[in-house]
C-alpha cells in the first residue's frame, strides 16, 4: 500500500482522515440523490420522445404534399411565395435541474402563411409551421436527454470511484493508523506497567 509511507500515523491525522471520510460519504450521498433525481427527470423526458415517430410520419406526409404543390406550381413560384412567409422567432433560455444546465426553447413569434394564395401551398405551409414548433420541442427534449445522460454518466463514475477506491482507501488508512495507535498505546501501557513494577520492587 503506497499511501502508508506518506502519512504520519498520529491522532491528529486520524481525526483529520475521519472528518474527510465523513465528508466524502456525505458527498457520495448527495451525488446519489442527484443521480436519482436526474434519472427521474430522464425517464420523464424519454416519454416525450415517443412522439418522434408520429412527428416523422407527419413530416413525411407534409413532404409528399409539398412535392405535389411544387410539381403543380413550379420551383420559382413556390420559392417566391415562401419568401413572403414571416419567420418564426425563438429564444433559448437556460434552466438548471440539479446543477445541469438544460436549454429551454421558447417560440416568441409564430410564422404566418396568410400571404400565400395557393390553397395547396397554404396547407403545406400551415402544416409545416405547426410541425416546426413540435420539432423545436423535440430538439429541446433530445438536447436535455443528452445533457442529463452525460451528467448521469459522470455522476456514476464519481460515485463508483468514491465507493470502490476513495472510501476504501480512507478506511484502510484510518484502520492502519488506529491499529498503529493501539499498538503504541499498548506499548506505552506495558512500559508504564513495567516501570511501575520495577519501582515497586525497588521499594520493597
Amino acid at each position: 500500500m503506497a499511501f502508508i509511507g506518506k502519512i504520519t500515523p498520529t491522532r491528529g491525522t486520524l481525526i483529520r482522515l475521519k472528518d474527510t471520510l465523513r465528508f466524502i460519504q456525505e458527498g457520495k450521498d448527495v451525488l446519489e440523490m442527484k443521480r436519482d433525481r436526474l434519472a427521474g427527470e430522464l425517464s420523464s423526458q424519454i416519454k416525450d420522445l415517443e412522439g418522434r415517430k408520429i412527428l416523422e410520419a407527419e413530416l413525411m406526409e407534409a413532404y409528399a404534399k409539398f412535392k405535389d404543390v411544387l410539381t403543380n406550381s413550379g420551383y420559382e413560384a413556390v420559392a417566391s411565395s415562401a419568401w413572403s412567409i414571416s419567420k418564426i422567432e425563438t429564444e433559448v433560455a437556460k434552466a438548471s435541474v440539479m446543477g445541469v444546465s438544460l436549454p429551454r426553447i421558447m417560440v416568441t413569434k409564430r410564422s404566418s402563411a396568410d400571404s400565400i394564395q395557393d390553397m395547396g401551398l397554404y396547407q403545406v405551409a400551415a402544416k409545416l409551421q405547426a410541425l416546426i414548433v413540435d420539432l423545436l420541442s423535440l430538439a429541446q427534449t433530445e438536447a436535455n436527454i443528452e445533457r442529463i445522460s452525460y451528467e448521469l454518466m459522470m455522476i456514476n463514475r464519481k460515485v463508483n470511484a468514491l465507493e470502490k477506491t476513495v472510501i476504501p482507501e480512507y478506511e484502510r488508512k484510518i484502520s492502519y493508523i488506529q491499529d498503529l495507535l493501539f499498538d503504541e498505546d499498548l506499548e506505552g501501557f506495558v512500559e508504564i506497567k513495567h516501570v511501575k513494577n520495577t519501582a515497586g520492587r525497588r521499594k520493597t
Binding site: 404534399k65 412535392k67 405535389d68 404543390v69 411544387l70 410539381t71 403543380n72 406550381s73 413550379g74 420551383y75 420559382e76 420559392a79 417566391s80 411565395s81 415562401a82 419568401w83 413572403s84 412567409i85 414571416s86 419567420k87 402563411a113 396568410d114 400571404s115 400565400i116 394564395q117 395557393d118 390553397m119 395547396g120 397554404y122 396547407q123 400551415a126
Partner: protein, 344 residues
C-alpha cells in the same frame, strides 16, 4: 375590315403556333422515364437551342423550368418585336404581366425580409423593361419600391401602401399590381379592332383569378375585409354584388350563390376536389376551364387578333405544363399523377 398589318401579324402567329407542343407531345413527355429522356424529346422543339448546351445527365427540373420560362419570354417578346402601332401597344400591355410577376416577387421578398438576385426574375429583355429590376433588388422597404416605380405604369401602387401596412399582407399590393395591369390592358384593347373577343378572354381570366383568390383565401380562413381588398375590381361575368356576397360567405357555402353556368361547374368540381384533399387539382380546375375557353377562341377566330392573344396564353400554358412535368419527373412521380396536374 382587317388591316394588312393585322392580317400579316395573325398569319405570322399561325406559323408560330405550329411550334407549340401538341397534346400528344405532352403526353409522350409526361411518360418519359426521366429528365434525360425529356431532354432528348425536347431537342426537336423550340427548347432545343438551350437544352443542347446542357448534358442530359446533368439536367434537373429547376434548370428545365428556367429554360421553359426563357423560351416563353422569347416567344412573347418576339411577337412584340414584329408588332406595329396599336397591335404593338396591345402586345406590350399583355407582356407586361411578366413584369407584374417580377414585381410581385420583389414585394414578397421585401415583405419576408429576404434578399433575391437577378436570376430569380422571369426573363424580360432589357429593351422592353419599364421597371429597373436591378435597382429594385437593392430595395429593403416597400416605400423604396414605390419611389422607384414613380415613372412607370405602376406608379399608383403607393396608394395601397397604407392598406398593406394595416393588414401586413403583400397580397394587397400583388392584387393592386394586377388591377393596374388589367386597367392598362383594357385601355389598349379599346384601340384595336376585334378587341371585344380579346376582352372576353381577359374578362374570363380576371373572373377566374377572382374566383381562385376567393376560394383559396376562404380555404385559409382569411377575413372578408382582406378578401375585398384582394379582388380585382373588374367584373365580367361575375357581377359586383355577387362577388361582394362571395367574399362574405364561408368556403363551403359558395355554391349557394347563383354563380353563372360557366363557373358553377368548375367551382363545384374544385370544392369536391378540395374536400377530398386534392388541393393542387382543385386549384387547377378553374384554370382548366379558362384554357379551354382560350382554345375555343383560337379555333373560332383564326383570322383575328384574339388568335394572337390565345397563342400567348397557350405559350404560358405550355410553359406551365412543361415545368410541372419536369418537377414531377424529378420527384419520380408516375405519368398518371403528373397528367392529373396538367392543364389539358
Amino acid at each position: 375590315m382587317k388591316t394588312p398589318t393585322t392580317i400579316y401579324f395573325v398569319a405570322r402567329t399561325h406559323g408560330l403556333k405550329r411550334h407549340l407542343l401538341k397534346h400528344e407531345d405532352l403526353q409522350r413527355i409526361s411518360r418519359a422515364k426521366d429528365l434525360a429522356e425529356i431532354h432528348s424529346l425536347l431537342l426537336q422543339s423550340d427548347y432545343s437551342e438551350r437544352l443542347s448546351k446542357i448534358s442530359p445527365l446533368k439536367l434537373d427540373a429547376y434548370q428545365l423550368e428556367r429554360i421553359v420560362y426563357e423560351v416563353l419570354s422569347e416567344r412573347s417578346y418576339y411577337l412584340l418585336k414584329i408588332a406595329r402601332g396599336s397591335i404593338r401597344r396591345l402586345i406590350e400591355g399583355f407582356c407586361r404581366r411578366t413584369e407584374v410577376e417580377n414585381l410581385k416577387r420583389v414585394v414578397r421578398a421585401i415583405h419576408g425580409n429576404e434578399s433575391m438576385n437577378r436570376t430569380q426574375f422571369l426573363p424580360v429583355p432589357r429593351e422592353y423593361q419599364t421597371v429597373n429590376f436591378l435597382a429594385l433588388l437593392e430595395c429593403r422597404r416597400v416605400g423604396e419600391i414605390i419611389k422607384l416605380l414613380k415613372e412607370t405604369p405602376f406608379r399608383d401602387l403607393g396608394d395601397k401602401v397604407g392598406l398593406y401596412e394595416r393588414y401586413n399582407n403583400p397580397l394587397i399590393l400583388e392584387a393592386y399590381l394586377d388591377r393596374i395591369y388589367y386597367s392598362v390592358l383594357e385601355e389598349n384593347l379599346k384601340r384595336v379592332a376585334g378587341g371585344s373577343r380579346i376582352q372576353h378572354l381577359v374578362g374570363t381570366e380576371i373572373d377566374i383569378k377572382n374566383l381562385s383568390s376567393i376560394t383559396s383565401l376562404q380555404y385559409s380562413r382569411a377575413s372578408p375585409d382582406l378578401l375585398k381588398e384582394i379582388i380585382i375590381e373588374y367584373y365580367y361575368r361575375l357581377p359586383r354584388n355577387l362577388v361582394s356576397k362571395l367574399v362574405e360567405l364561408p368556403y363551403e357555402e359558395i355554391l349557394k350563390l347563383p354563380l353563372g353556368p360557366p363557373y358553377r361547374e368548375s367551382i363545384t368540381k374544385a370544392i369536391d376536389l378540395a374536400n377530398n384533399n386534392m388541393l393542387p387539382q382543385a386549384e387547377n380546375i378553374l384554370w382548366q376551364y379558362f384554357y379551354s375557353c382560350v382554345e375555343k377562341e383560337s379555333i373560332k377566330n383564326p383570322g383575328s387578333l384574339v388568335y394572337v392573344i390565345s397563342y400567348l396564353f397557350l405559350c404560358r400554358k405550355e410553359a406551365r405544363n412543361l415545368a410541372t412535368i419536369a418537377a414531377g419527373k424529378q420527384f419520380k412521380m408516375g405519368p398518371e399523377r403528373i397528367q392529373s396536374l396538367l392543364f389539358v
